[in-house]
């Protein structure tokens, strides 16, 4: 029988109570994994077959076919443009929302909740789901993609900017208010300089994410390189698909370098 008190004479790392909690957590984790494994529809022959299938697929991708490289590069530029324009639009739209969603700058309780509602809605719906909606409304094309990324970025940027605004030093604001500065002047001279570094950092981070997201918009018809990838896969043109995947890999890696460089330049 294990007593629930520690016995000081021989050292153990955890008290029996801690050990019980740990075992309970392990058991919970194992039971949830077992539940998931037993219920989910896994077609075991398919799983056992998977390495062979994947090998076969990659075999068909080699060597990558670069004959369509002109088109691929053109849509790659289009993809970057979608991401950049959408980031710009998202940044502009997110600022007023961040302003009303920050507790210390929001005019009143109703606007605070309105701001939070906009941010939560925007953030919880994934870019692809936004894209499905905008494709249904505006038809397949780049506009649906731009709007999807803008709407998703809005919540991300607004939330982080709102947090930056909530963390500002109150004293410059009070000092300016004491001189009788107008509301606009207070924002411009007391709030903006304090949140500017966060603003650049967050915008660059989101641009980097958006480059990645814009590569898949085409798969639901919202423009960019995803459309060409889907076309290559649907026609079983795996060699061209390999070129496109390499192009996406290069784009994302370059995007990451550019954003790291920009961050060093500005911050």
């Amino acid at each position: 029988m294990v007593s629930l008190d520690t016995r000081p004479e021989d050292w153990v790392r955890f008290t029996p109570r801690q050990r019980l909690t740990r075992f309970a957590i392990y058991a919970f984790v194992l039971i949830s994994i077992a539940w998931a494994m037993s219920n989910v529809e896994i077609n075991w022959p398919w799983l056992l077959d998977a390495p062979q299938q994947m090998g076969d697929l990659f075999g068909r991708m080699v060597p990558p076919d670069a004959s369509n490289l002109g088109t691929i590069l053109r849509v790659l530029v289009e993809t970057v443009n979608i991401a950049t324009i959408a980031t710009g639009a998202g940044v502009i739209l997110s600022l007023p929302v961040a302003y009303i969603a920050a507790q210390n700058t929001t005019p009143n309780q109703a606007t605070l909740w309105l701001g939070r509602f906009i941010l939560v809605t925007s953030r919880s719906v994934n870019t692809i789901i936004w894209a499905l909606l905008f494709v249904a409304i505006f038809g397949p094309g780049v506009l649906a993609g731009i709007l999807a990324i803008t709407f998703r970025s809005l919540g991300f940027l607004g939330k982080l900017m709102g947090e930056a605004i909530e963390e500002i030093d109150r004293r410059p604001v009070e000092a300016l208010e004491a001189t009788g500065a107008s509301k606009g002047k207070v924002i411009l001279y007391a709030i903006v300089p304090q949140v500017l570094p966060a603003f650049w950092a967050v915008s660059i981070l989101r641009w980097d994410i958006n480059i990645r997201e814009s590569t898949v918009l085409g798969l639901v018809g919202a423009g960019g390189i995803g459309l060409v990838l889907q076309g290559a896969i649907d026609t079983f043109n795996w060699q061209e698909a390999a070129t496109i995947l390499l192009a996406i890999l290069a784009l994302v890696v370059i995007g990451e370098f550019i954003s790291a460089w920009l961050r060093r330049q500005i911050i």
Partner: protein, 265 residues
């Protein structure tokens, strides 16, 4: 009379060099015009959008919760996919993180490990999902494999960074006692990275649940598949109900995972 100093103070510009300052503004403006000008907008189709938006939204309200069975089934499948993918992904990311930590791995192994992480991180889960759907067929299996790759990309990267920051004294102490490589890992490295690993796993479970709603759209199972079907059949009221359930589930899982991580860290 003109005074040598300006009468009123004005804010110093962010970029001191005026050529660079106006050059940048001009460059941004030119880029915006060029980018918007070259993108292929289909204005005729877009102008139809306003009427369509009205039809879609009137079709979506009120959201229809009439098929709770279908929704629950899709949602549970998403949850199962997320759990299995997190467990497998986190297990696999430990060796990959060890490979990608500069202080533990020799150079060739380090490059291999970092290569795996870069590949896993660069491709959006939806692209990975399409490839797995082609390789192993439609259904939750493709979703699990996709999210496993996705988990490796994030967890292995963060874990490798944590391993690079460990207190090296403990490793030296264990090595001085004559411990083997494996014992060094178990007694000197793992205890130091364990809290971060648990936090990352919980975060990744939350993140996988989110992503599993999306990979379903391209055929990898879960609630995303239910959503994509509803959209394709113009069942906008059911689609809205599914989106509301997804948003609710994400908010709950975010709150729970945030609470647990706050207690661990």
């Amino acid at each position: 009379m003109k005074s040598p100093l300006p009468e009123t103070w004005s804010k110093p510009p962010a970029i001191a060099n005026p050529v660079l300052r106006y050059g940048l503004i001009l460059a941004v403006a030119v880029y915006a015009v060029w980018a918007i000008g070259t993108l292929p907008f289909d204005w005729a189709r877009i102008s139809d959008g306003v009427g369509r938006a009205g039809r879609i939204f009137s079709g979506a309200f009120p959201p229809s919760f009439e098929r709770p069975g279908l929704m629950l089934e899709g949602f549970l499948e998403s949850l199962q996919i997320a759990i299995i993918a997190t467990a497998a992904g986190v297990l696999l990311s430990v060796p990959i993180a060890l490979m990608s930590a500069r202080n533990l791995a020799p150079m060739p192994v380090y490059i291999l490990g970092r290569g795996i992480i870069i590949c896993a991180r660069s491709f959006h889960p939806v692209i990975v999902a399409i490839i797995f759907v082609k390789a192993v067929g439609f259904g939750p299996l493709a979703g699990m494999l996709t999210l496993m790759v996705y988990s490796i990309g994030f967890v292995a990267k963060m874990l490798a960074e944590r391993i690079e920051e460990i207190d090296w004294g403990q490793v030296e102490a264990v090595r001085a006692a004559g411990a083997s490589y494996l014992s060094t890992l178990i007694y000197a490295v793992f205890p130091q990275i364990m809290p971060r690993q648990i936090g990352l796993s919980i975060y990744q479970l939350d993140s996988n649940l989110r992503a599993s709603a999306v990979v379903g759209i391209v055929g990898a199972g879960g609630i995303g598949a239910t959503l994509a079907n509803a959209f394709k059949r113009y069942d906008y009221d059911f689609a809205l109900a599914i989106i509301m359930v997804i948003v609710g589930a994400i908010l709950i899982s975010e709150a729970v995972s945030g609470m647990i991580r706050k207690r661990i860290w």
